[in-house]
Amino acid sequence: MTRNRPDPSLLFHPRMPGNWWLRKRTYFLFIVREFTSVFIAAYLIVFLVQLYQLGNGPGAYQAFMGQFASPGWIGFHAVALAFAIYHSLTWFYTTSIVIPLRIGAMVAPRYVFTLLNVAVWLAVSAAILAIYLIW
């Protein structure tokens, strides 16, 4: 327990500027990382609408899917994909910090865990693609 503290009225209290996240590259990348979730959620809503149209019958679904070839929708999906990939990579990296990968008594360098995750990610993606094509 400490009994001695400075007089609060004489302290200078700094304030974070509103644009703090623009002042450092790492902060900016952090905000981008957090905002990947917005693009992923947006994509999922679009996907949900797509599935909703499926419930309205094949005609409605085909009509809805037809619009996806337009440059606007392609652009949307391309941007969503870019953010989704950014999410995947940052997620694998941050997970490597949370879960140390032990090989025997040694803790493996983080990039090993990250690369391992990337490999699993690519394998899972290929598997999903294969299942879809075989179906």
């Binding site: 905000i31 959620a41 797509q50 499926l54 419930g55 899917m65 990610w121 993606s125 693609l129």
Partner: protein, 111 residues
Amino acid sequence: MNHRKTLEPMWWGLFSAGGVVAAFLIPIHIVLLGLAIPLGWLPGSAEIFQSWIVRLYLFVLISLPLYHWAHRFSFTMSDLGLRPIRKPLAILCYGSAIAGTVVTAWVLLRI
């Protein structure tokens, strides 16, 4: 320090699960359904969605990342200046994720 009980472990658990699902599964879905099929690189068929296993999978695929969004969005908006309304913002975000879960289930059931 305020030692109130909190639901934050639950929200964080859902956020993490959503983050994992999004990281491993979402990109290939965008590639497939958002780019490859509309651009005609691959044939588009909706038959696969009739499967119950696929629909269960889709439920997980869509609902969990919504919690991931809710968690990150509410924290990030707080960090970007909405800290004064942190509580209502959190209720709105997590509430939206819950609503999204219900809607997802409904949509998948009516396919």
